[in-house]
Symmetry: C3
Subunit: 274 residues, 3 copies
């Protein structure tokens, strides 16, 4: 299903412009390189349009937003849309402060994002214009479970219709949907939430997959979410085998991405359509 | 002695707001997650008060201070004090430039810190208003040794009285004191000074321990200093076992924190009261 | 040839002031510590002159330049020149945007750099005032190969003459030259380009080597380039031995630097003079 999509990333070697937070920016650069893509981080208003123009996709992440970089996000985002590049939004911590919620809403008003990725609380916040989070983590009461999955899928499709964007809600169960079709992805491991940056890395990776597969955004997003989850599983297995902890896990996650081949991807992917 | 204090961190899962430097910010986030706490990094003046309000503790670190983030530190710090949250200061490089020394002094004048943590040169600088450092490292002539330990303890207690804060002076021998009581902690390993960020990570960890143990700050700080030292020892042992170097050590340090249990903590802690 | 140069770094323990990008800043700090040097990162205009004054060398890197830090680079650079400190420029992504190209050119006009290090596309850009890159990577058509090596050496010597600086062009084959003499260095491994930051780390390392060997800049630069390449080879061997990937490689690179001794350096170095 996703094999060409997976192969296109290393084949096309997409260049991804990231305007992202300074907490996990190194991890974002390294996961892109591991996946066969290439990063460029640039956030000055004086160059973001030019930088985006030479790239294949743009990833915006409001994890450590400030007035200066918010302006750059608008400029880069509008230019990427004008050029027809995929533009991905990670509304990190939307709901945790008015600045984050408002910035995410304003970005979505002015930029037609190709993909919006967040945890369930962040996506609820941007749909309602208000919400609760636990800092940058999802509120427990919001969690997507097998029990509320159909309801969650309907909700994600509806947000996709509203925002005219593919929506990726990631958590224990991942949902990737447009207004018609949802992929449910059950890859991943809970240890992914015990390191910082798995969401940010995924956001960058989504941009790479979309940049290498511009004709098929929904599948590209689903494949990248699955790839990240599969690497989380492999990293966990390696970590346990080495009696490691979360430090080791983070390294093995990037290892797994750099070693991931189509066969492993295909063998491990757990995806369902609803 | 510190067992409940240790257990409270993973039980209460405190959320720690960090306004910190961009050099070691990823390590700070990962050490917090490894310890069972959760990080949120936010430094824009437009959101720091709100972000601090949803957190359990605030860690300020002037490692790469600038005009914009200094203002945010004041705003966040005052709000945290108003809300009764623990507020921790790491005056990185105080003594290395007038900006650092003055900012540390101004912060201490306007914010009643719960804890101030630094190397001995930084703490001397903030006590006298002037000092010498070797960049962000302690001046060798300042070092706390067994020979001058009693004198150092008296000095640290006196600073604590002056600043109305628990003081943590870390180095080969660590001293954690209020005006009455000092813990001398002899955990740790010299390799901790061969990677960047052990001080910054400890500052974030102190905030987590204080956020989970608001009724007993002195013990919380001492326990967090011991925990960091113990993880340094474990990391060193693993690194030697693997013929690794400082890169491996950094990863094993975070591993050790994520795997640290009360039994190991209790067995390894080397603490004395003076 | 370079043995004293190598030994001087750990013996003199040079303090390196870095005004650098937030993507790889942690790696830069850790590689300096691994090599026996010490880092201080400071980029506020209010302190950069003072910070540079207490250091042995200054490394400027425009990887995530912005208006604020550009001003700080000029202030720090001029002060370092005034004090006779080695000043190194890494014109990251020169050619990728007008801001990067112009900033690199303006910095070179106003500051007499001791060393300029870049990939071949960046160095071509700063020599001609215009150029093409693939983001922050060299354009494939520019690559230095055995076939065009003599021509490349002549070009690098000419740039050195023009800029009155030692020039280090790094890639599959590295060239380090002043106007008279070029070292060709064939250490390193292609995996170094599959992680972010090897160029930035090298830039910081060059500063450390120059700071510890002020009387012999050309040899200091060549030795640091060789040391980085050797560590890349060792890291690759370890990574393969562990079935690791690019995450592991990055850690083993810092390990290798922290464990590198003169004997290994001497045994592995592949250097030629042209």
């Amino acid at each position: 299903m996703f094999e060409n999509i997976f192969n296109n990333v290393s084949k096309k070697h997409p260049l991804v412009h990231c305007v992202t937070n300074y907490v996990t920016v190194n991890d974002c650069a390294n996961i892109l390189l591991a996946a066969g893509a290439a990063p460029i981080m640039a956030d000055d208003i004086g160059e973001v349009k030019e930088i985006t123009a030479i790239c294949n996709a743009l990833a915006l992440n409001i994890g450590t937003l400030n007035e200066r970089t918010i302006n750059s996000m608008f400029a880069a985002g509008k230019e990427a849309v004008r050029l027809g590049h995929p533009v991905i939004l990670d509304p990190v911590g939307a709901g945790a402060s008015a600045l984050r919620t408002d910035t995410a809403l304003r970005l979505m008003n002015e930029i037609n994002f190709t993909v919006i990725r967040g945890n369930i609380s962040e996506i609820k916040t941007i749909s309602k214009g208000t919400g609760t989070t636990r800092g940058v983590d999802a509120d427990v009461s919001d969690a997507v479970t097998e029990a509320n999955l159909n309801e969650a899928v309907r909700f994600v499709k509806e947000i996709s219709r509203q925002k005219n964007a593919v929506i990726a809600v990631t958590g224990a169960i991942d949902i990737v949907a447009d207004s018609d079709k949802a992929y449910i992805i059950r890859n991943g491991h809970p240890m992914m939430s015990r390191i910082t940056g798995t969401g940010c890395m995924l956001n960058a990776l989504i941009a790479a997959y979309c940049g290498a597969n511009t004709e098929n955004t929904l599948d590209a997003v689903a494949a990248s979410v699955a790839a990240m989850g599969i690497c989380g599983e492999i990293a966990y297995e390696k970590t346990v085998g080495e009696n490691g902890g979360t430090g080791t896990f983070r390294i093995r996650l990037i290892d797994a991405m750099s070693n991931l081949d189509a066969e492993t991807f295909w063998k491990r992917i757990k995806v369902e359509i609803r």
